[in-house]
Symmetry: C2
Subunit: 217 residues, 2 copies
């Protein structure tokens, strides 16, 4: 028995992964968890490419590494504005991010979640703001997969920076032109202790009572 609340409350981003292989039955349970997720109209418009070959992992690492170091410049600038304690935490996260970018090709598995917009009814597509609802039929599956990874003792992290070079990713993994890439999740056993305490806002901050802005509790 793996308690669901224990898994949720200790699922943290693990960016330092060992290269040891993941047994097939473990990987199957992670994929099965993704398959159980709800999607709009039960259409399951997503697929996941389980990337394991050296060549394909290297192709993804070649896309991710420069995207990370470009992103990290802005990250450092913002981090330098923070109070000392938070800034120190930011620097630790930066170092972990650098590690992932430098070692991504060594992860035993990289999951690439893709989806076909034609299989979705995207209700916010015509609004005068950026659309997000398409993600509602994919990130439910990504979250299930990550919770399963944590349950199996695997480290993982949800990344999206590969979208900055989506064409290269699609070319490398032979993803059809009209499909979208939504999440890249490296999977592997943790170098360190892996999962553990997480830092999150309180429900008093995140939840509102009946109308926006009225604090819960």
């Amino acid at each position: 028995m793996n308690d669901i609340y224990e898994m949720m409350s200790t699922l943290r981003a693990v960016r330092r992964l060992r290269s040891d292989p993941i047994p097939d039955d473990v990987l199957d349970r992670v994929l099965q968890a993704a398959a159980w997720a709800p999607t709009g109209g039960n259409m399951q418009p997503w697929r996941v490419v389980v990337v394991r070959s050296d060549a394909q992992k290297q192709a993804l690492a070649d896309v991710y590494r420069p995207a990370w170091y470009r992103y990290a410049k802005g990250y450092d600038a913002r981090n330098d504005q923070l109070p000392p304690e938070e800034a120190a935490k930011g620097r630790r996260n930066r170092a972990a991010g650098d590690y992932l970018a430098d070692h991504l090709h060594e992860a035993p598995v990289i999951l690439m979640f893709v989806a076909d917009p034609k299989m979705m009814a995207i209700t916010d597509a015509k609004l005068d703001r950026i659309s997000m609802v398409g993600g509602g039929s994919v990130y439910t599956a990504v979250q299930n997969a990550m919770l399963a990874a944590r349950t199996e003792g695997l480290g993982c992290v949800l990344t999206t920076l590969h979208c900055l070079a989506e064409d290269e990713v699609k070319s490398a993994l032979q993803i059809p032109e009209d499909w979208a890439t939504l999440a890249m999740v490296p999977l592997g056993y943790p170098v360190g202790k892996g999962h553990g305490p997480i830092s999150r806002k309180s429900t008093e901050t995140l939840a509102y009572d009946d109308v926006f802005g009225v604090a819960w509790n």
Copy 2:
């Protein structure tokens, strides 16, 4: 102990909900589960409005009901094309959807998940396709909340049709103009047996081996 795989594999859409109130400690655990979810840069750009007053629930029902019946016309048209067994299942889903639309205001709680795009780094914003990545920092929390609801014996379903009248929803719940609404999740104890077996594609269909299109296993 609530086994995570049991919860995931029995989390189905429950659209017939009793009006009985949900105890505060149960609701707190559902909200806490949402709060634990990972988000991009740990920014937690989402908030959830816990709608419980009759007036606010009625306002949401007034938006949802016509949106559902407009959507259902297309649903029926597609359903009529299916083989008899699937069509019969489609008609059962249609009836459950009608029930939800007609009784939404009676649910004890409706969760409305909202998010601020300014707190997100949306990496697919400039691509030549509809954006979906913003959802990656919200639907992880929605999925956690739904898994917790199932764990607590509550029925729930992820809906997005309210986006077709998002301005009215934002006005009713006093949501700021620049925030987006991503998911409406009615919560309540089930009228029937509630959660149980789910119908999903196999991992052989959903997962690919190393490149898109090569079946897993």
